[in-house]
Symmetry: D3
Subunit: 337 residues, 6 copies
Amino acid sequence: MITFGELLLRLSTERHLRLSQANSFLATFGGSEFNVAVSLANFGINCEFVTKIPTNELGERSLEEIRRKNVNTNYVIKGGKRLGVYFLETGASSRASNVLYDREDSSFANITLEDIEWNEVFNDADWFHWSGITPAISNNTALICLKALKEAKKRNITISCDLNYRSKMWKYGKEPQEVMPALLKYTDIVLGDIDTACLMIGQPKLNPDYNNLSKLPALYEEMLSKFPNIQTMATTLRYSVNASHQKIGGIIYNRKEIFKATLREVIPVVDRVGSGDAFMAGLIFGLLRDEKNYQYSIDFAAASCCLKHSISGDYNLVNIKEVEGLIKGSGAALVAR
Amino acid sequence: MITFGELLLRLSTERHLRLSQANSFLATFGGSEFNVAVSLANFGINCEFVTKIPTNELGERSLEEIRRKNVNTNYVIKGGKRLGVYFLETGASSRASNVLYDREDSSFANITLEDIEWNEVFNDADWFHWSGITPAISNNTALICLKALKEAKKRNITISCDLNYRSKMWKYGKEPQEVMPALLKYTDIVLGDIDTACLMIGQPKLNPDYNNLSKLPALYEEMLSKFPNIQTMATTLRYSVNASHQKIGGIIYNRKEIFKATLREVIPVVDRVGSGDAFMAGLIFGLLRDEKNYQYSIDFAAASCCLKHSISGDYNLVNIKEVEGLIKGSGAALVAR
Amino acid sequence: MITFGELLLRLSTERHLRLSQANSFLATFGGSEFNVAVSLANFGINCEFVTKIPTNELGERSLEEIRRKNVNTNYVIKGGKRLGVYFLETGASSRASNVLYDREDSSFANITLEDIEWNEVFNDADWFHWSGITPAISNNTALICLKALKEAKKRNITISCDLNYRSKMWKYGKEPQEVMPALLKYTDIVLGDIDTACLMIGQPKLNPDYNNLSKLPALYEEMLSKFPNIQTMATTLRYSVNASHQKIGGIIYNRKEIFKATLREVIPVVDRVGSGDAFMAGLIFGLLRDEKNYQYSIDFAAASCCLKHSISGDYNLVNIKEVEGLIKGSGAALVAR
Amino acid sequence: MITFGELLLRLSTERHLRLSQANSFLATFGGSEFNVAVSLANFGINCEFVTKIPTNELGERSLEEIRRKNVNTNYVIKGGKRLGVYFLETGASSRASNVLYDREDSSFANITLEDIEWNEVFNDADWFHWSGITPAISNNTALICLKALKEAKKRNITISCDLNYRSKMWKYGKEPQEVMPALLKYTDIVLGDIDTACLMIGQPKLNPDYNNLSKLPALYEEMLSKFPNIQTMATTLRYSVNASHQKIGGIIYNRKEIFKATLREVIPVVDRVGSGDAFMAGLIFGLLRDEKNYQYSIDFAAASCCLKHSISGDYNLVNIKEVEGLIKGSGAALVAR
Amino acid sequence: MITFGELLLRLSTERHLRLSQANSFLATFGGSEFNVAVSLANFGINCEFVTKIPTNELGERSLEEIRRKNVNTNYVIKGGKRLGVYFLETGASSRASNVLYDREDSSFANITLEDIEWNEVFNDADWFHWSGITPAISNNTALICLKALKEAKKRNITISCDLNYRSKMWKYGKEPQEVMPALLKYTDIVLGDIDTACLMIGQPKLNPDYNNLSKLPALYEEMLSKFPNIQTMATTLRYSVNASHQKIGGIIYNRKEIFKATLREVIPVVDRVGSGDAFMAGLIFGLLRDEKNYQYSIDFAAASCCLKHSISGDYNLVNIKEVEGLIKGSGAALVAR
Amino acid sequence: MITFGELLLRLSTERHLRLSQANSFLATFGGSEFNVAVSLANFGINCEFVTKIPTNELGERSLEEIRRKNVNTNYVIKGGKRLGVYFLETGASSRASNVLYDREDSSFANITLEDIEWNEVFNDADWFHWSGITPAISNNTALICLKALKEAKKRNITISCDLNYRSKMWKYGKEPQEVMPALLKYTDIVLGDIDTACLMIGQPKLNPDYNNLSKLPALYEEMLSKFPNIQTMATTLRYSVNASHQKIGGIIYNRKEIFKATLREVIPVVDRVGSGDAFMAGLIFGLLRDEKNYQYSIDFAAASCCLKHSISGDYNLVNIKEVEGLIKGSGAALVAR
């Protein structure tokens, strides 16, 4: 499993404090594609994380983190100016969480085509995962993403993508719809909701009703019409009462049928950052375990996502037994003792 | 904007610990009238806070706090014995929050009539805000409050009051009903529920049904019968499931009509201390922006109050955009990124 | 009041962190029977805690803890190898709390029959409380438990037991049903649900419907058929939405009638460890205050249990006034100030 | 052993922070006479602490602290307004530590003659310890101190006093020299340096040279001329390089001979508050163990004091073995493992 | 007093942890010229800090900080990309402290000539302070520095400069000796050692012996030969035993005479970052109080610097009384109580 | 590089607190042989750590730690009962640090001969490092140690040993002198002082004077007379003023000549646990780099050891450049910026 993306230093406040109140920051790490790798490593999948980090103390620290979480570092490039940072204040009740990016000019943002030898990276690889964040960072990262996808496709590697639209990014002069369609062309499995996909490929919104299952295939098909290569599309269903109270489910469409996971209440939300990545990793794991068992995949994805909301930090620190335990409905209420 | 009151050192436990469990206290500051000033400063209003603090290190520290929160310190008097303190344990679920006051003999409690030159304070002032806490502290503070109100009235300054009944105060030998009526006579805008007002002015309780809007004007009128000067009365609607789960709304009555804000669920409550002050500040801001738009005022007040419950500490650290965002219903569930 | 059991060092993570994330542990103490003693001491009952602790620094620290919580230490034996430890990660939402025991070979586990002079311990005693955890630790502790029960019975001391089934214990080669029946024979008051009791005494499950009050006496009688000495059996009713959201009630059966406490919502759960002990202590307190008022006892037990969920650590740090306040429904929503 | 004095809540900053920098305070407890009692309890002496605390949560918390440290609470009176507080910033290098008292009007300061039944307190007592802080608090505490001394003298109880001059106290209208002589008249053992004693009894300073041992007896005699009852006077020798680097020794004079302890370097100073109390407790312990072995007493006192500087908080948390280890010079440099 | 420079978010580890060990960072603020302003404000001098900060949450937070420390914000420009950050690990013993800059492309680094209206800034100003860090940041900041100096000179404003050589900066393509001479031409008072000055103005090193006072005037003159405008040059004397143990003194030369401050031991060093700024502020304060009393100035500067080493964070949080207390040698060893 | 030993969870108090004061513990990891591996990995050496850990959450956590510190985990065996724990209170000034072991019955203590396939472990290995702690744990670990040494010898692998005498261990019924000689017979390089070696091999003490270099060869030879295989013996020189102030040097003897490193002051000691391991790793690194350059080896060892005292936790987190910087005497006093 190859994932490619940026690893950021995450500086978050404690106890729902606002950034203006912080006298200290919790220092952890995260990044959508790395979060997916960590989750998959916890499920026993052998993962490589391809990225670029600076040669300073924070770069070294991030490397320790990758190793610690059991993700391989064979294709971590060193060099460039700085490690990207994001500041996070975790919201509560009616106040949303807030991310302040400080990631411009990071080592990863300035990565060059020469930095990565995809030939080596993809040697023996069976899956390549990317997300819509990478082409949102810089023109460079978008170009490298395209190259990686072409190289992966050549080798018949399965390709998955989490659309991951971020309104505070895409600031380098291109809009998603100018960049994403060319990338999605090579992709086999996509995670995202229909309207985010429409936005990213420059189509008008379709306003899907995810409760009306029978009408969904047509909508997915309309949206995917120019993407014959996409064989599977999944959507996280998230209904939000407020920042601390959400309902999480999921849908998967294999261009024939719709499969739906149980909707679960999440209250309170300990940390929702990374919950989409938890969904993505659950989905990949499910498809890896049994590529035809779409019901298992979407169940595993939704339960993973649900559990992630209870865990502080970007990563979903759960194992297969815990995810399957939730699917079977065994009791979170009991203290395991 | 002039606010007058006491600034206290707040020593609170973390993680819902009881006072008996505390090995450390978080040290912040607060006081009803100062909280209102901070909130208004965050909304862009130029505020002075009139108070008295000791000349020791804690007095200096509190002065730093006032400046930090962008409230002016031109009328902060220095002297006296000590800074008042309150200890707070934040409840959860079925256990209520608990305040332990240690504020007797504070510099503010022993403030004298000579300490404040209201002539200077009110020069150029357009609004004076006080609360029922100040006359509850000591005979001195009650007398100075009365003087301030007379001086403000003379200059046609708008006067607002939050009734703020505190059962653990009023210990200097006078009951609220002996003191408050004379003070409320000068007041234009009052925040409080009908029965608290009755208690404070020595009238029998009226047991209002705040859901029965059509009957409310008569009840407000009965309660306000001896206070022709009061032009506007607002009431925070608070329905409590438990200490962590509340529903917040609000009502405003302009002696003609009733306007009501949407009731919103608050769960979990991060810190409800200061949420009444957040309501008061929202109300003042709304009336300052458009004194005839009662609906906007009550909406802004209730949404401010609602947001405050998500913020640790006494102050409501939100801006106009965030309050209006909540009024419009935009999503606390989304991470802003 | 005599309670007998093990005192453990509790090392718990903060902020719902998983054990794998912990860079520090909060160090507190707890153990089912000690928790009961602390709770009773808070209700004004004079308690002795009989246990064995090592002579090292952690033993001394645990002794400080017993004294601090106002429990007598006259029968705390010193010696043996080590203090038992348990690691706790507090779950949230759909993730269960998790206990990792590290208590093998503790001073208490290796306690010997000679260590305790029951003749002295029971001199003047009126009540003896034990729980199903003690005989689950080791053959030694089971044997001493039996001895204590016989000695207590001889002196007509009231005996209570919390069944406290722990699936991660009972590892010394005996099953509960081989040990517990002989112990329960001497017991007057038992806390536990019907099916846990069945499991522990080796009877088939009865699948009781606790909402069907009229059928319960027959089920309790069936389960208690071989235990004529048990005069009272109580059951904590716990309905779990998830790890953070529970509903707590209780039932008591005096071999004639059923009495039921109000079911209360608990959300959020701050810490549910020790909530059963809080129930047990409330039950004992109620029966001590008025042994015929079963309604008061079960109300007091259920309200105690409910409040415990709001308190961090093993102990229920509430007083009689607070428990009775909750029974009367006075408002957790108000800040006491 | 009876000690009599005030117990204060100590709120100290971490990491040498100034009070103006503090966002939290470490909450511990201390008070000169209580510190002596804790130290003696650690040496195995049975101690009662006579004091007055309020009936609120902080009073309860302080009571837990007394029990925890193994000091008896039979004569802890409950009532009055508040628990005294002191704020502490621990200095470093060339910056002195700084104490901000907030102890006026405490329960102890307003204690009355009727509050304590000395007849009961002194029943079976063999030693009474007081310090110069108690009569510095208020006229009440000075009067009660006098009464206690008279009652103790009547019963031939050994009386010790630490002069403990505090320049920020003595604010109730009397100077030490108006109060202390009458109290010292009843005292058998005094700790203090010669010039502090002169100041407190209203004599001119004598500028002793503590290195010139042969001249010291005459100086002690001159100072003690009006106090024939004082049989032993000890002096802590403290040479300060800066706030983090001190040299600690001690002298004892039995009105015949001088005995001197080794001078030891203390670097760094972790917390010097309470180091005088550690000296006092060491002195009492030495005299209790062998009242004629002045050398042992002064060695034990100085080594105790020295060790205290390495311990955070007011109390000297060391045992006899550790103090004697230091006297014998065994190695602080080794890790005990 | 006008100071001009960059304000950085400082993220430092606790307890001497290395950056690779940090799980959290203490968040404070600092920057050489701001540190000088804070120190002067603590000495009662009215200061403006001219800088540029971003319009995001961290910019707002830094603005709160400036106000809090009693420095005026009238000329704080808002805009640009980001707030500069520096990471700090505080060394100990034989391990040096280490700074990791992450300040490229900050709002201040990209400040433009149009951003500041020096005409307004210098209206009524009597002193302008800058440091060698500002022209080390970017070509822009160097140009603006030059403009400010010319404008200040025009108005006969006293100009001071701390040479502040930073080897990790000066990365925009120019060497100090290409930039600094033109700036120093306008400067009246310079802080720096002779060889740093030589390096910055492109002269060969002079290897001064600061103990040989009689030879120093000639060396200072040689170095200052092309800078007739510089009337006063001061040098911090710092002898380092290791990262925790230093000796601090100072020298001032008024182009006639040398004045020297007492050398003081500093052990342990709590935080030496900002100690040069503390020296600078002490120097300015001394010269402001009595511009002819060079001995007072250098004494005040060296004692300020010495005290700073005991204080955590960039700022020197001491008042005049504390600095003068150290000059007089009053005792850091005593606890002020 | 193969190292073999136990990895312990280290629970240490903060701020020099005693164990009895701790309300939380910092959780890190350490163990003599692992500490050596981490240090070598920081110097760029490829290391395997052979150990046994339990399959629970703490075992997983320790595995994350090994990976994080860049040590290979190919021969980490999983199974057994528990992870060994040690509690640490860090002393200061005249109070020694104190270790409380809770490591009995750990997975490693109960490791069996069958658990490790030395044939695989030693395939390609060039160096094997063990310490005197491993045979002190249990009979099992002593036997496995012997087997490992025999296997290593067979393959001509260089073998190093740190004698590491621990008085609180060796509790399984054998004395060091019954076990160690057989193990040392296979060892090439030994770290330890002469008298510790004598004690461990059952020889009378020799009371060496390490300042008298000319007499040392004879003493080393006397001690090593029965160990012809030992080619190199090194000794850490540690002179302790107190727990916070030490002097560190070192000596190496190649059975021909003595080489000595500079003695360096260490003040303050941040954490001395692991400083011997830092010495050992420095020694190995020096010998690996240039096996004939004994002066470089002992310099590198002593400087590594010296730096370790400034670092919190068991590991020496420094790189080659930092060690060589200290050897060259470049300034710890400067802030690297």
